[in-house]
Structure formats: C-alpha cells, structure tokens
C-alpha cells in the first residue's frame, strides 16, 4: 500500500508542478512568436522561433543600463542594511537596559505600519530636502529594511555568550574591534538570510522607486518594465520578450544559490 500511495502522491505533485510552471512556459513560448502568430494561436509552439522580439525588447528596455541601475541600488542598500542593522542589534543585545527594550520594541512595532500610511508625507519630506534621488532611495531602504534585519540579528546575538566579548576586551580590543573581528564573523548564517530577504525585496520593489527616482536613465528593472509594458500592451510579442529578459537574471541566481535562498527564506519566516 505504501508504494502505491507514494506513486499517486508523486503523480499529483508532478501535475501541480507542471501547472506551476505553465505561466512561465506560455510566456517563453509566445515570446518567440510574431505578433500575428500570438494573435491567432497562443497555445501552439511557434512555427519558427524568432529572436527578433528579444533584440528589440533588449534595446528598448536599455537592458544593460537598467540592469546595472538595479544592481547598484540593491547592492549598496543591502550592504548598508547589513552593516548598520547588525551593529544596532549588537548594541541592543549587549546592554540590557530599559532603553534597549524600548528601542527594540519601536523597531519591531514599525513593521506593522503599512507603507501607504507613511508614503505621502515621506515623499513630501524628501522632496523638501532635495532627496528624491538615488541616495534618498537607499536611505529609505535602510529605514524600512532595518526593522526585520535587527529583529533577525537580535535573535541570533542573544545566543552568543557575552564572555566572548569580555575575553576580547581583556585582550585589548575596543567595541568596534570586538564586533567586527569577533562577533560579526559568527553571524554569517543570519547575515546570509538578511541579505537574501532584503535583496529579493529591493530588487523587485516597484512603488518606492516609482515615487523617488522616476528619471530616464537611472530607472530600475521594475520601473522600466512598467513603462515598457504600458507602451506595448497591444504588442504582446515585445512585452513577453521583455518580461522574459527581466526574469532571466533572477532565475540564474536562483539556480546557483537555491539552497541558501530557500534556507534563508524559511529561517526569516519561521522566526
């Protein structure tokens, strides 16, 4: 009975997996068709695979530039979040005072505030400070990303004995040295989680960049995609090629870092 049951479950799983893949399959298959062919038949394989859609979409998306815009903002933001959140969490976990609990509570509580509730004054304030630019955007990512990151670091830091800090201090290290040379290297697994969660969020974020950096030439992938798509809604062949191009870097990264990504997500979600 066990074997038959396993067999049935496996078949159900495979069917579900195929359903899950279907949207990607249909997107890719149709991206190789001509405009007319998509209009006539979306379900069949293309008569002749044409790469023309791709070269055209690649060009109109200005993809190399757009890709590096996204990369720049994501890498800097995630780096800053890691550095400052881990330091803050360390401070909060090492000095157990009332003020530490209060600050920690404020950071965690801030997670409950939906973005829309601060969006309008945020844009106004940053506009006044002339900070509706990439630096402003990165600073915003630090503000919004620090809560969860501090929360995750804090949990791990509480499990690292203070005796370690004390030993290093006796050897003559100051706080910065203790943290960067002794403690931070021990945080590597949770740093990976923090990096993955923030990367996925910032790489894919649309709303915040749309409010902050809506300038030609510095647009990120989701931003560029939005305008590209609006322009080509009736030209599915180009739109689909554009979507596929936008997804390819993500799928490649997933292929290489799959284990860390799923582990990072589950750690971030279960805590």
């Amino acid at each position: 009975m066990g074997k038959v049951r396993k067999y049935v479950i496996e078949i159900i799983g495979i069917i579900l997996a195929l359903i899950w893949l279907a949207p990607f399959y249909l997107m890719v298959v149709n991206s190789f068709k001509t405009k007319r062919e998509i209009f006539v038949d979306t379900l069949r394989l293309p008569e002749k695979f044409t790469f023309k859609n791709y070269t055209e979409a690649f060009e109109r998306l200005d993809f190399i530039q757009t890709f590096f815009n996204s990369l720049l903002i994501t890498v800097i933001s995630v780096g800053i979040i890691i550095v400052f959140s881990s330091m803050a969490a360390y401070a909060l976990s090492r000095r157990k005072r009332k003020i530490s609990s209060l600050i920690f509570f404020i950071f965690v509580g801030a997670m409950l505030i939906p973005f829309q509730s601060v969006m309008i004054p945020l844009v106004y304030i940053f506009g006044k400070m002339n900070m509706l630019n990439r630096i402003g955007l990165i600073f915003m990512y630090l503000g919004f990303g620090s809560s969860l990151s501090i929360f995750l670091y804090h949990g791990t830091l509480n499990g690292i004995p203070k005796a370690l800090d004390e030993a290093a201090t006796i050897d003559g290290a100051n706080r910065f040295q203790v943290f960067w040379y002794v403690i931070f290297p021990m945080l590597k697994p949770i740093t990976v989680t923090v990096a993955i969660l923030n990367t996925i969020w910032i790489w894919n974020d649309y709303l915040l960049p749309s409010l902050v950096i809506n300038k030609e030439g510095i647009q990120t992938i989701p931003l560029k995609m939005f305008f590209f798509f609006g322009e080509y809604t009736k030209q599915w062949h180009l739109a689909l090629a554009g979507l596929t191009i936008a997804i390819i870097p993500v799928i490649i990264s997933y292929f290489f870092a799959q284990k860390q990504i799923i582990k990072g997500i589950s750690e971030g979600a279960v805590k």
Partner: protein, 286 residues
C-alpha cells in the same frame, strides 16, 4: 559611564536616524495632516474629522475596503490550502521532491509587478485561446469584469505565495518526531487519523505565522493589483493601497488620501494583532 555608553549610541545612530526620518516622522506628520486641509504644499487650516467623515461616505473607498477584505479572505484560504498540500507532497521523500520545491517556490523571487504582467497575458490571451478551443464562453473576456478580475487576483496571489507558505509548513513538518507517527501507525491509526491528530496540531504554529504573512500581504497588495487589472474595469477591482495612491497622486487630494492611509493603518494593525492573538490562544489549547 558616559564614555562607556558612547559606543552604544554610535552603533545605534544610523538606523535610529533612518527609522526616524523614514517611518516615525512621516507617520506623525501624516496623522497631523489628516486633520488639516494640507494640499501637498502647505497646510493652513485645521479641519478636525472632516476627512474621516467624508471617507465613510465615499462609495469608491468603501468598495475598495470591501473588495480588499473579500480578496484577503479568499487568498488566505487558497494560499494556505495549497501551501499545506504542497508541503505535504514534497516532504514525502519522493524522487522529485527537490525539483518540486524549486518549482513551487520560484514565483516568489520575481517581483509582483512582473508576475502581474505575465498573468495578464495568461488571462487575456491564453484563456481566450482555451475558450476558443473548448468552445467555453467563460474563458473569454477575463479581467474585463469585476468577478473575473477578483478571481484573477486570487489565482495570481495563490500561485505566487503558496510556495512561500510551503517553505514554512515544511520547516514545521520536518520537526514532527517520526516515532510519534510510527507509534500511531502500529496502534492502527490510518493516514487520515494520523494527519488529523498528530500532524495537524503540530503544524498549528506554522499556521499562525503563515496566516499573519498572507493576511497582511493580501491587505497591503499593490504591485500585483496595478499590473494585473490596474483597478479596472471602472475601478471595481481597486484595492485600498491603490485607492490611496490614486487619491494622493492622481487626484492630488493629499490630506484626504492621508486620512485614508490612517484608517488603512488601523485596519491592518487590528487585523494582524487580533489574528495573532486568536491563533496563539488556539495553539495553547491544543
């Protein structure tokens, strides 16, 4: 003593500044603006609860709240249903378990905006194609009615998030002691009984986490809403987040939009906290 705490504040300084400038100050300003006739440039007059009274008579806003609520209920149900099923399948130690996990999780890595565009193509073009093939009228004209737009959003969200929720359920399923299940099997419990009395109670905490995530994500949905239906037809599939955005930046009614944002904050907070409270209570009883 002073010197000792210097490092403490230095370590905290960058994130405290960022949180204050990005979240706390805008939140307080926003609260204040919602009681004035602020127009995005200057606020001159204190108008009390005027905006709040107005929004409870605003048919479009009330519709967006109702639509969002219905959407959240449906998507929480389907996401958790599929999430648990997928988790149960991939934890069976099948040959294809690993590749299945990879596939089910994949949509979560791609942005909601892009996923919405992909599904727009599926619903509009592919569904029409299936409708022609099978001569079924129901497949045509998807996203052109409120009803199909609603289910379009639910399908998109379930497809996207089930894999994420699966990962959470897997974490708890893998912690269930095997001896417990084996002992129950020896005692003659069938697989349904084992699921009902052992597996299900032990994954209850996963349900708390996943319900919190799915509920708040569904309520705050914006990108997918924007790219899949754009709120159409006639704003009937417009959710709260999108309604606030439109009021502020398309209609330029800043103070009014901000009062909606305050109500939105209250709704999300109350729902999140109530949900966690009740689920925690249920866990203890089990």
């Amino acid at each position: 003593m002073r010197k000792q705490s210097l490092w403490y504040w230095l370590f905290l300084f960058p994130v405290l500044i960022a949180l204050t400038v990005v979240v706390i100050i805008p939140f307080i300003f926003g609260l204040y603006y919602s009681f004035t006739n602020w127009n995005g440039i200057q606020s001159t007059e204190f108008v009390g609860f005027k905006h709040y009274i107005k929004l409870f008579q605003d048919g479009e806003f009330l519709h967006s709240i109702w639509f969002t609520t219905k959407f959240a209920i449906a998507s929480v149900f389907f996401i958790n249903f599929f999430g648990l099923i997928l988790a149960l399948i991939v934890t069976q130690k099948l040959k294809t378990s690993k590749i299945m996990r990879t596939i089910f999780f994949m949509p979560n890595l791609i942005g909601g905006l892009i996923l919405g565009f992909i599904w727009q193509f599926i619903f509009i073009k592919v569904f029409a194609g299936i409708g022609d093939l099978l001569h079924v009228e129901g497949f045509r004209g998807w996203l052109s009615t409120t009803e199909t737009g609603f289910w379009g959003l639910v399908i998109l969200m379930s497809w996207q998030m089930a894999g994420y929720i699966m990962v959470i359920y897997i974490a708890y399923l893998e912690n269930i002691p095997q001896e417990l299940l084996e002992a129950a099997e020896i005692d003659g419990a069938n697989s349904f009984q084992r699921f009902r009395h052992i597996t299900f109670p032990l994954v209850a905490p996963a349900f708390t986490v996943s319900m919190f995530l799915t509920l708040s994500n569904s309520f705050k949905l914006y990108d997918q809403n924007l790219s899949l239906t754009g709120g159409g037809p006639y704003d009937s599939t417009q959710m709260v987040a999108m309604n606030i955005f439109k009021t502020a930046f398309s209609e330029n009614q800043m103070a009014y939009a901000q009062s909606k944002a305050v109500i939105f904050f209250l709704i999300v907070t109350v729902i999140s906290l109530t949900q966690v409270y009740f689920n925690k209570k249920r866990e203890v009883e089990m």
